[in-house]
């Protein structure tokens, strides 16, 4: 039975992946690119040299952090779609902190900046959490709206109050903040590449989230409230409180992802800094089965996909929006496949079908492998 279960899950996942790849291929065909050549470029292009390999990890860092937050929220029964906005708010808070305290030592300023980023994201997500817990406002809608609001607020600050004075002097007016002081930069892991020590932070936090969710009472409460709110309430767990806590954590991770991206890669707040990580993070979290052990490899995989998509845009002229299409299809494929993965009944049906296929027309219903 167990061997069958693994084969069964593998088949379902393979089918979902094939469906997603086929849908992507049709779209590629429609924009005049060769699907196979494009897929080959996406998957092998970035792995040719050290720079490509490190770029994959550079993309994976914010994806891990965002996806960890999303896993916490999804596991706790609140669907946080607002990572994009929470990242921006985290970046704003981190930038403001770094620029306000330029003379602090590295060992003090950097943690402070990262903490500010996490706090900014957490507070922004907390709005949706409290609205859900207190007023029952649908969190998907409110977080989507908070995304739009954060994006506008971000551009407003970058064009107005937070713009680099040098930009105004030269008159170029690029909407970006001043450069952060060096004390607020994350160190580079490999000289000459953009790979920064945020990667280590992300890996440590991935382990931390595992401990939090599966090895503490507190994490158990969150998961219980998410799995079955009514039962959790009878067990004395305050569901509204757990919703708000999950949302704060989730937003904190997104804000931290923003702060890490800021201090590790760009060193100043620029437009499009979040570059869709907030949405890709959702796909990564789902792809990684909402578990840190799955999220880390999934983030690397999507890092590869993002770098590869950039390459195809440059070489084959496939518009970068293509990656949104792929992500959308992957989400649809994953949530569809879930029914067949977690459903014992569907599994049993497949098993019976499989047996009939193997043993001819008369299956024995009393054989083991029945309903668990």
């Amino acid at each position: 039975m167990n061997k069958f279960k693994i084969a069964y899950s593998g088949c379902v996942i393979l089918l979902a992946a094939l469906a997603a790849a086929a849908a992507g291929a049709i779209v590629l065909k429609a924009v005049g690119a060769s699907p196979i050549a494009t897929y080959v470029t996406i998957f092998t292009g970035p792995t040719q040299d050290l720079f490509g390999l490190t770029e994959i990890l550079v993309r994976a860092v914010p994806l891990i952090l965002v996806a960890l937050g999303i896993a916490i929220s999804f596991r706790s029964g609140i669907i946080n779609i607002g990572a994009e906005g929470q990242m921006l708010m985290g970046i704003l808070a981190a930038t403001a902190t770094a620029l306000a305290l330029p003379n602090l030592a590295h060992g003090l300023l950097l943690p402070l900046v990262l903490l500010a980023g996490a706090l900014g994201g957490a507070l922004w997500a907390g709005i949706a959490g409290i609205l859900k817990a207190r007023l029952g406002v649908n969190e998907i809608l409110s977080t989507v709206m908070l995304n739009y609001i954060a994006a506008q607020f971000y551009t407003y600050l970058l064009r107005g109050p937070m713009i680099d004075p040098a930009e105004l002097e030269t008159g170029s007016g690029t909407p970006q903040s001043m450069r952060l002081p060096h004390a607020a930069w994350l160190g580079r892991l490999i000289p000459g590449t953009r790979l920064h020590s945020g990667l280590l932070l992300a890996l440590v936090l991935a382990f931390g989230v595992y401990l939090l969710l599966w090895r503490t009472t507190w994490g158990f409460r969150l998961r219980a409230a998410g799995a079955e709110a009514k039962a959790a309430r009878y067990a004395g767990i305050s569901v509204p409180r757990s919703l708000v806590a999950a949302m704060l954590f989730s937003g904190g991770f997104a804000g931290l992802a923003g702060a890490v991206e800021l201090t590790g890669v760009h060193h100043r707040a620029i437009e499009n800094i979040s570059s869709g990580y907030g949405f890709t993070g959702i796909v990564v979290a789902l792809f990684g089965a909402l578990h840190p052990a799955g999220i880390v490899p999934a983030a690397v995989f999507f890092g590869l996909l993002l770098v590869g998509a950039d390459m195809t845009q440059r070489t084959a002229g496939v518009p970068a929006n293509m990656i949104l299409v792929l992500q959308g299809v992957i989400i649809l494929a994953i949530v569809s496949a879930k029914m067949y993965l977690n459903n014992a009944y569907a599994q049993e049906k497949a098993l019976k079908w499989f047996r009939r296929l193997k043993a001819g027309p008369s299956p024995d219903p009393l054989k083991p492998g029945g309903r668990p």
């Binding site: 649908n138 809608l141 518009p319 293509m322 959308g328 989400i331």
Partner: protein, 316 residues
């Protein structure tokens, strides 16, 4: 500007602004009444807006040229039905989590329309769009005539859709089935109603209306297409269904509230009161959150099985 003239401007601008929201929202109402929460509305609107834009953009000469807009609307409806079917396949047949699947459909529609737009069109180009058609006689009524009866035909069509939706939902057997599968699918099933089929039908209808709403944006309102043309209107439409208490009249009120807020904000800017442009853009999104917070009681009137997939083989 005198206050009367300003009021006139706000109202006459606001009425056509409400159309895209109203169409998508009425469609979403049918989805939700049938128990399916379709957040992919935004993605369907993006595809509708893009595909409707193509025929008038490409067919500039020839026998079909005068019908470019009409073909555009038809294509948008067809695309909406197809995407509705896709969403039905995922959420009804595969019983996927509707919120997450909706975000998937949104990313898909948004990304696909942007990708195809960049490849086939490239930059921002305008189309002629639908011309205003003043209703003879009615448009001469002082004040009200210009506000209500001097718009493009889609505006009249959409406002007729409000009573039509009401009739369809409350006065036809199909409407009764839709309401039944959204509140008591098990009972409906035992009465011989095919729950999943009704949900499929509702999602196709909702998709068609969302596609048409998107088409209105590109052909009548903006008269061009851009990646971010829809800009969250699909999500606002979903929120309006909550605000409107799942009834066509409530949704009409919500859509008008939003469009008047938008035209009021435009009038304030034109009127010379300066505030940052970004805050003006933010306004409708803030309004959605406020409206959802205030509409909490209306939830009790909503379909009780909203968001819950129906599994015929499951016993509770």
């Amino acid at each position: 500007m005198n206050p009367g003239g300003m009021l006139y401007n706000i109202l006459s601008l606001g009425v056509p602004f409400s159309v895209a929201l109203l169409l998508a929202s009425l469609g979403e109402m049918f989805n939700q009444r049938a128990g399916v929460f379709n957040l992919g509305c935004e993605g369907i609107m993006c595809m509708g807006a893009f595909l409707a834009f193509l025929p008038p953009y490409f067919i500039k000469t020839g026998a079909l040229a005068p019908y470019g807009n009409l073909i555009g609307f038809a294509v948008a409806i067809a695309a909406g039905v197809l995407l509705g079917l896709l969403f039905a396949l995922v959420t009804v047949t595969f019983r996927a989590d509707q919120g997450i699947a909706g975000i998937g459909l949104q990313l898909f529609g948004w990304g696909l329309s942007g990708t195809l737009f960049r490849h086939y069109v490239g930059g921002v180009t305008g189309v002629e769009g639908l011309a205003a058609w003043a209703l003879p006689g009615l448009s001469r009524i002082p004040f009200l005539g210009g506000i209500l009866f001097n718009h493009n035909p889609m505006v009249y069509f959409t406002f007729l859709m409000v009573p039509a939706s009401w009739y369809l939902l409350y006065r036809t057997p199909w409407g009764l089935k839709v309401r039944a599968v959204g509140t008591a699918p098990r009972a409906a099933d035992s009465m011989g109603i095919n729950v999943n089929r009704v949900r499929y039908q509702a999602l196709m209808l909702g998709g068609a209306m969302a596609g048409l709403g998107g088409a209105y944006l590109s052909l009548c309102q903006a008269r061009m297409f851009a990646d971010d043309l829809v800009a969250g209107r699909g999500f606002i439409a979903v929120a309006l269904v909550y605000f409107g208490g799942w009834s066509p009249v409530g949704i009409l009120g919500g859509a008008l509230l939003f469009s008047f807020a938008q035209s009021l904000q435009l009038a304030i800017q034109v009127g010379g009161i300066k505030f940052p442009y970004e805050f003006a853009v933010m306004l409708p999104y803030v309004l959605v959150i406020l409206v959802l917070s205030l509409a909490r009681k209306s939830r009790l009137r909503g379909p009780s099985q909203l968001g819950i997939p129906f599994n015929r083989e499951m016993r509770y």
